[in-house]
């Protein structure tokens, strides 16, 4: 399969039996990636079992103790209605992480499929898909989201917004795949002309096989980089959606809506702004490291540990 002038180690096809084991071996040696993985694991566990880790109710108001600074009682202080910040951050993480990851998934899958198809087939397929991409890039989210929020309400569905983050995540994903598509297309265009792809094609490999077995593994790095880039954006976008009447509504906490009202509190109650921002920061940086390790492990061209 891997023939001609291409060394086997360099462009590998996805065929080996112990492939997973192989990746795992490479991944495990990536210290920072392991660290990122561990942070994510801890975060997920803490968030999933929030009631175990916090004695407070995330909705319990205490109007006499508004905006209290961090103390032994409230490790992250209290918010503008006297609710425990730590508890709200833990509960908020449930929605924010789900929205972020799901939106990222949707955008990556869409972007990769469109970019691959466009770059591989070229010609009219490419023209049409790229023009569609341009159209999507040109259309402002602001108006799409307002129109969508209105449309959903006009259906008179009972409480569509309460606690359901699926539509939000899908919408964010569906409106943010364009960058990935263009990068993937560029890389595919470049690979299409390569010897190993042409060789495979000459040997009668099907399009799907070529795309997913040969090209996709070789363009993982731009995909992973843009995926990790998109995650923080997706988590924060969620709060923007509430502003447009389409997001998670209060009092349900999310990291996004905890951040959205903090500009003036930054002066007088900085903890209400700093902690949710820090949480987003830690999650995204952990995912970045994770993605970095993943990329190195998956990318057939990289040899881990080479100094």
């Amino acid at each position: 399969m891997t023939t001609l002038s291409v060394p086997a180690k360099k462009f590998r096809t996805v065929r080996e039996q112990s492939l997973f084991l192989f990746f795992w071996m490479r991944f495990r040696r990536h210290v920072t990636a392991m660290l990122g993985g561990i942070i994510m694991l801890i975060m997920t566990v803490v968030i999933a079992f929030a009631p175990v880790f916090s004695p407070y109710d995330p909705f319990d108001q205490d109007l006499l103790n508004r905006l209290q600074p961090p103390s032994t009682e409230h490790w992250m202080g209290t918010d503008d209605l006297g609710r425990d910040m730590l508890t709200r951050i833990l509960y908020g993480g449930r929605i924010s992480l789900s929205v972020g990851l799901l939106a990222m998934g949707v955008s990556i899958v869409l972007g990769t499929l469109i970019g691959l198809t466009s770059g591989y087939y070229g010609g009219w397929t490419d023209s049409i898909l790229m023009r569609i991409t341009e159209i999507f890039l040109s259309i402002p989210r602001l108006f799409v989201l307002i129109a969508m929020g209105m449309f959903l309400r006009s259906l008179n569905l009972p409480n569509i917004q309460a606690g359901s983050f699926m539509p939000i995540a899908v919408v964010i994903g569906a409106l943010s795949w364009m960058g990935t598509a263009r990068l993937v297309r560029a890389s595919t265009l470049e690979l299409r002309g390569r010897e190993f792809v042409q060789a495979s094609r000459a040997l009668g490999g099907s399009d799907a096989r070529l795309l997913f077995m040969h090209i996709l593994p070789n363009i993982m790095s731009p995909i992973i980089v843009s995926a990790t880039l998109g995650l923080a954006g997706a988590i924060i976008s969620e709060s923007g959606l509430s502003y447009l009447g389409f997001g998670v509504q209060l009092p349900t906490p999310t990291w996004g809506n905890m951040l959205s009202n903090t500009q003036n509190q930054m002066l007088t109650a900085p903890w209400t702004a700093i902690f949710p921002g820090l949480m987003i920061f830690f999650v995204v940086i952990a995912i970045n490291y994770l993605g970095d390790g993943l990329r190195d492990a998956l990318d057939p061209r990289h040899i881990v540990g080479k100094k």
């Binding site: 002038s5 360099k10 920072t32 070229g122 010609g123 023209s127 790229m130 023009r131 341009e134 159209i135 890039l137 040109s138 259309i139 402002p140 602001l142 108006f143 799409v144 307002i146 129109a147 209105m150 960058g179 263009r182 990068l183 560029a186 890389s187 265009l189 470049e190 002309g193 390569r194 790095s221 731009p222 980089v225 990790t228 880039l229 923080a232 988590i235 924060i236 951040l259 903090t262 500009q263 930054m266 002066l267 900085p270 702004a273 700093i274 921002g277 920061f281 830690f282 999650v283 995204v284 940086i285 970045n288 490291y289 970095d292 990329r295 061209r301 990289h302 540990g305 080479k306 100094k307």
Partner: protein
């Protein structure tokens, strides 16, 4: 190449037309706008409302309004802002230099940071230098932009004070109001917004550059060059860099429209009077003429930049066939 260009141009015009239709339809379907401000005021009589609707041409059906708009726009007239009554292009023209200044400086700073760091960290993969720059880049990518900007303001223009007891760095505007023109003052006002933007976008550029550089270093022709005994410096600069910079061209090209569009968050946090804020304010008030003008120019730039990127690609990388 010529036929390709011609075809792409035709496609682009068609795309722009489709975009303008979608935009117009979308904006018209969103409620609000100048009329709702008047309707809200009980002092406005039914006759007043009818008169105003006619004045702003809002009593026609949407397709008619679109055709009128298209006709005027093709003649270079984007209409007058509903809010200020001034030509939309004048409103944009007033803010364009501000946005281009901010974004231009930002892009230059970004590239000055990202290109050397990206290349060095690729060459010295898995050294301490690489780990540190990677960590910084990840940090840049992971910061919620808005939050980071606020943090900068709180630290540098609220908490820290200069020798004269004034904020260390100005946190808003393009210059000190009421003060005479001073280059130093202008530069000071650029520091925080550019830092915020450049830190975030340099991170992205650096990561892409590092990974494409790594790809290139392991390519046959680079190895061949090395094997033939070419000096490392020659290998890196003559063979590797040229190819590694190709993906960067895409990125820069795709970012070019933002030189016009500005950065809403940055302009908002640092009170920078640019296009981003103009657009956002106009959008919130559904000031159709201004919103349409900004969006159409922006779309045209997106389409143009993607055409440009494809052409440059074809020139830089002979392996890519544009057909």
């Amino acid at each position: 190449m010529a036929t390709y260009l011609l075809r792409r141009l035709l496609q682009s015009i068609l795309t722009l037309l489709v975009i303008s239709m979608i935009l117009f339809g979308l904006i018209s379907s969103v409620p609000g706008g100048i009329m709702s401000a008047y309707q809200e005021n009980p002092d406005f009589t039914a006759e007043d409302l009818a008169r105003l609707e006619a004045k702003y041409g809002l009593n026609d059906p949407v397709p008619v309004r679109y055709l009128k708009w298209l006709g005027n726009t093709l003649q270079g007239d984007f209409g007058n802002s509903f809010i200020s009554k001034r030509p939309a292009l004048e409103e944009i023209g007033d803010r364009l230099p501000n946005t281009m200044l901010l974004m231009g400086v930002m892009l230059i700073v970004t590239l000055l940071i990202a290109i050397p760091l990206g290349i060095i960290s690729a060459i010295k993969q898995y050294t301490w230098f690489d780990h540190i720059t990677t960590t910084l880049a990840f940090a840049g990518q992971s910061l919620p932009v808005f939050w980071f900007g606020l943090l900068l303001i709180i630290i540098f223009s609220v908490t820290l004070k200069g020798a004269d007891g004034k904020p260390l760095l100005p946190g808003s505007g393009m210059y000190t109001l009421g003060a005479p023109f001073s280059l130093i003052d202008r530069v000071e006002h650029l520091i925080l917004p550019v830092t915020m933007l450049a830190f975030v976008s340099a991170a992205g550029y650096m990561r892409y550059l590092r990974s494409s550089m790594l790809d290139v270093i392991n390519e046959d022709y680079v190895r061949t060059a090395r094997a033939k005994g070419a000096r490392e410096r020659v290998v890196i600069f003559k063979h590797a860099m040229r190819n590694a910079l190709i993906p960067l061209v895409t990125l820069i090209g795709l970012d070019l429209p933002s030189l016009f569009g500005g950065a809403l968050f940055t302009e908002t946090i640092f009170a920078w009077p640019g296009i981003g804020r103009l657009y956002f304010t106009a959008a919130l008030k559904t000031d159709y003429p201004v919103v349409m003008a900004v969006l159409i120019i922006y779309s045209a730039l997106i389409i143009l930049s993607s055409l440009l990127v494809d052409v440059i690609y074809a020139i830089l990388d002979p392996r890519i066939r544009l057909s």
